[in-house]
């Protein structure tokens, strides 16, 4: 039996993990993630018996599970002639399956819960060749098309096209880092391992650079303030050593204190007052300066980010969720400002303060200074220790608070359900359970807080004791003055804050770097649909549209459009029909140039859409969507959104044409009615008509209706239909609808299926043809009969 024989023993796993450390578990993954892995020697010797000469291994993949359901390494090897599987099934030597490629009918992957199984189907039946956990799913998904292409070489065209596996492409959501392979924390899309802290912080500082005239003096002021801040302690040392001690000595000796002593006392006290006033004023000024710098950076960064965001193409938005992008512009930018204006300064300031104190202490008495430093490691240890504990406690608390919010957010709007099913008691019980847990959590937090401060105080007290003891002995040996001792005790009290700041320095840097990366990602992404250098203004168009062999894919995994060809004359209305996912919306996205095709061309009035400026193209295209988006503002603002210089008269005319005027004037505020966010105060049908008015006012040559009437009741629909009837006159129209009756005005229909044009022609032609469209019509007729009943 071989050491590789039973897969990972626990020792193996631990050794691998330890020798590599977390950072390198990525490396381990990398070795296992290629589809041509190193075949262990024991298998190689067994292969000799199976393989003919000059047969070369093309694919070698290991599993992490065995068929008996335990963890372990089995193998699948493919040469240009055969597929070999080594499966151990709990036996010491693996069982070998040898399947000639020419027998293979298909490769199947069974996606199960928590594991997958690879099967090979031959004429004689199917055999399972590998079982693996989801960790290896990408590797097997990558290897499968490779194996299929090897089969192709043995017997071309034999594999069933529909059962073929596509080339594996990782999904858009980043789970593991692309460079290092380690997992990326949820709620972040930045790999903490790969964040180049230094570079990012440096880049961030560049934003502060234009304000150096203010920030440099601010830093200077701070360094001076931190130094001056220590001066009172030095002064009190002088006060004691130069005035009080000689004076008390004189008095004990029965003499008068020196005559100038009181004057000196007043002078030193005045100096102390002066120092304090100075630090106060200087800190205030510095605070104001840094606030100014911080706000300026925020202003610039936020505007830059939003401005660039608006330039970016739709694909950028589709890969990220709204909340994530929003928090980048609000929270992350804010965090960066805090870091530059406060965090970084505090770090510099506190380190300076520590250094100053050390210099002063060592200058006065280096032995005692060494003793005084003893509590610092303790302070560091406990700060970190309690920080971790605190983090844990607060996480639990936070989870419970989130639970309370969940209950409230579901039971308050759902109160009718709660009452209708008389579950009040149950809900109150759930709530009470959570509040009990919160009580417990808060008390745990209180426990930590109440312990934390006394412990910190005790450590400092311990330091003091040490200074009293060691310093006191030095005083007795005449190695230290009393003033020196008070200075040390004074400094001891001041250690705490800077130590705490510096303990959290790394975390602060990392947080800032992550935020910076998130903001800079926006700034660094080039728009995928951009005007070419020699793009021309699209002249006023007539509305002819042509698709020439257009291929488009969102994710390079599946083609959303697969060779589309058609020509539309100006003024024609085209109905787009097809199942969801057939490519209707994609087609429209290419006309409006939200995306560019990977292959083929889209022409508008003979201009390739890629040769004209995007803005001049979109100005001539109008869109009415299924769920129209109204912006915060008045009804009039929304109608005039596409034509900012529209007169009141034009707005009313457009509303009339859209059958919207009548209901708008009935609003108490008429056209001045605020629609609220997402138009919540306006009903669905009303919103739809406002959006039609918006499109009418823009007066585009090409109009796109995307399910414009699907979400309203029948009566409203007829009014919207009427409005649409007016809107589409004299324009090229592309209309998407599931209810085929809404496409009755269409001149021609395009039936899409799996990204291809299935049928194209007039309603009558297609009915006569008796194909897909005729079938769809029949089904809908039946449905409407049921409705009529």
């Amino acid at each position: 039996m071989n050491s590789m024989g039973r897969g990972f023993s626990r020792r193996d796993v631990r050794r691998m993990a330890h020798s590599s450390g977390k950072r390198n578990s990525a490396k381990r993954l990398e070795e296992e993630m290629t589809i041509l892995e190193q075949v262990p020697p024991d298998l190689q010797s067994r292969l000799k018996d199976v393989l003919s000469q000059q047969e070369e291994i093309k694919v070698a993949i290991s599993t992490d599970l065995q068929f008996d359901g335990t963890y372990g390494k089995d193998w699948v090897l493919v040469t240009e002639k055969r597929l070999i599987a080594f499966n151990r099934n709990g036996a010491p030597t693996p069982e070998v399956q040898n399947i000639p490629l020419e027998d293979v009918e298909s490769i199947e992957i069974r996606e199960l819960h928590g594991n997958n199984i690879m099967k090979v189907r031959t004429q004689a039946g199917a055999v399972e060749v590998a079982r693996y956990s989801k960790r290896f799913a990408p590797k097997f998904a990558e290897a499968t098309p490779e194996i299929e292409s090897l089969i192709d070489k043995v017997k071309p065209e034999a594999l069933d096209e529909s059962k073929r596996h596509r080339k594996y492409v990782a999904s858009g959501k980043k789970i593991r880092c692309e460079t290092c392979g380690s997992p990326i924390p949820r709620r972040s899309d930045v790999c903490p391992n790969c964040v180049e802290k230094g570079k990012l912080i440096f880049r961030l500082l560049k934003y502060a650079l234009p304000f150096w005239r203010v920030s440099a003096p601010a830093v200077l002021i701070m360094m001076v303030v931190r130094l001056v801040d220590l001066y009172p302690a030095v002064l009190s040392k002088q006060l004691i050593d130069d005035i009080f001690v000689p004076a008390t000595q004189a008095i004990t000796n029965g003499q008068q204190p020196e005559p100038g002593a009181f004057g000196q006392l007043v002078l030193i006290v005045l100096l102390m007052v002066g120092v304090n006033v100075f630090t106060m004023v200087a800190s205030a000024i510095r605070g104001y300066m840094m606030a100014w710098v911080g706000q300026n950076i925020t202003l610039k960064l936020r505007n830059d980010a939003y401005q660039h965001l608006s330039v970016l193409s739709l694909d950028f938005y589709e890969q990220r969720d709204t909340g994530n992008l929003m928090s980048r512009i609000t929270q992350d930018v804010g965090r960066l400002r805090d870091f530059i204006s406060e965090g970084l300064q505090n770090i510099i300031g506190d380190s300076m303060a520590l250094i100053y104190m050390c210099i002063i202490m060592f200058a006065i008495n280096w032995q005692l200074a060494l003793w005084a430093l003893i509590p610092i490691p303790l302070l560091i240890f406990f700060t970190i220790f309690f920080g971790q504990k605190m983090h844990k406690v607060f996480h639990v608390l936070w989870k419970h608070y989130a639970g309370i919010s969940t209950i409230l957010a579901s039971t308050i709007p759902g109160v009718r359900v709660v009452k209708a099913f008389t579950r009040e008691k149950y809900e109150v019980g759930r709530f009470r359970n959570l509040t009990d847990l919160i009580f417990e959590g808060e008390m745990n937090a209180a426990k930590l807080w109440t312990v934390y401060h006394p412990i910190m105080r005790f450590i400092i007290f311990f330091g003091m004791i040490m200074i009293w003891l060691v310093g006191g002995r030095q005083i007795l040996n005449d190695q230290l003055t009393i003033g020196g001792l008070t200075l040390f005790t004074n400094f001891m009290m001041r250690f705490f804050m800077p130590v705490q700041t510096l303990c959290r320095m790394n975390e602060r840097f990392l947080r800032a770097a992550t935020s910076a990366e998130r903001v800079f990602e926006i700034l660094d992404t080039p728009p995928s649909v951009a005007d070419s250098k020699d793009a021309i203004d699209l002249p006023d168009i007539r509305g002819a549209v042509e698709f020439r062999d257009v291929v488009f894919s969102y994710d390079s995994e599946k083609n959303a459009l697969n060779g589309i060809n058609f020509t539309v004359k100006p003024g024609e209305m085209i109905g787009l029909v097809g199942h969801s996912g057939a490519g209707k919306s994609t087609l429209i996205n290419l006309i409006t140039r939200f995306y560019d095709p990977q292959h083929g061309e889209v022409f508008i009035d003979g201009h390739d859409t890629r040769d004209v400026k995007v803005s001049t193209l979109r100005k001539q295209i109008g869109v009415v969507l299924q769920d129209p988006f109204l912006f915060e503002g008045t009804v009039a603002d929304n109608i005039g959104y596409g034509k900012p210089d529209a007169t009141r008269k034009e707005i009313i005319a457009a509303a009339k044409a859209a059958n919207a005027h009548d209901f708008i004037v009935k609003f108490p505020d008429g056209y001045d009615t605020k629609v609220g966010e997402r138009g919540s105060r306006v009903s669905g049908g009303e919103r739809q008509r406002i959006s039609i008015a918006r499109a009418i006012l823009k007066n585009p040559r090409i109009l796109i209706l995307d399910e414009a009437t699907s979400s309203v009741d029948t009566e409203t629909e007829s009014r919207i239909q009427e409005a649409l009837g007016r809107l589409i006159q004299g324009r090229t129209v592309f209309a998407i609808a599931h209810r085929l009756s809404t496409l009755k005005h269409s001149n021609r229909l395009i039936i899409l299926e799996e990204g291809k044009v299935d049928e194209i022609g007039t309603h009558e032609e297609l009915i006569a043809k008796g194909g897909t469209y005729a079938g769809l019509c029949e089904k809908q007729m039946e449905l409407s009969k049921i409705r009529a009943l």
Binding site: G7, G125, A137
Partner: protein
């Protein structure tokens, strides 16, 4: 007057004694129903994969349509039961964690080294949200890649494992 429907009538469990479950030479499940029809390949699906592992098993045909439900595996004939249990074990791979050796976290990502009922394993989690604690100390874990692990009652683990776990739940 018409009576309201009896909801019990809406569900018809298969007569377990008259069902025949076998494995064909393609290592697929074939099921012969009491009405004499045979289906292959059949995929068994647990209706309650977390709470009732041996009850309410739905049998799906190749087009993912339900051909019937088995109320309790125990009702099946011995040989059939063995085949079905074997297939379920294959379809649901969720090792039970028996010991936590180490658990290291950085920025929300945690790396776990554990012993399970199926051997030693390691995995990564992307956040604490991937750990669900249920009543009675039961813990369900879903790792970065979508693998799942279970701890039936974490209080029963050794003190070291509990201490490590409690940093996360």
């Amino acid at each position: 007057m018409q009576q309201p429907i009896q909801i019990e009538d809406e569900i018809q469990f298969l007569d377990a004694k008259r069902v025949k479950i076998e494995r064909n030479q393609s290592e697929e499940l074939t099921v012969e129903l009491p009405d004499g029809s045979t289906h292959a390949p059949v995929e068994p699906v647990r209706a309650f994969p977390l709470t009732h592992l041996t009850q309410y098993i739905s049998l799906l045909d190749a087009d993912q349509n339900e051909i019937g439900m088995i109320e309790d595996i125990k009702q099946l004939k011995k040989a059939d039961r063995k085949v079905l249990e074997e297939e379920l074990r294959k379809c649901y791979f969720m090792p039970k964690i028996t010991k936590v050796h180490s658990l290291e976290g950085r920025f929300g990502v945690t790396h776990w080294e554990v012993d399970t009922s199926r051997g030693a394993a390691y995995f990564d989690l992307r956040s604490r949200f991937d750990i669900v604690s249920l009543e009675g100390g039961r813990v369900l874990i879903k790792d970065v890649d979508g693998n799942r692990y279970e701890i039936p009652n974490y209080h029963r683990l050794d003190a070291n494992s509990v201490a490590l776990l409690e940093t996360q739940i």
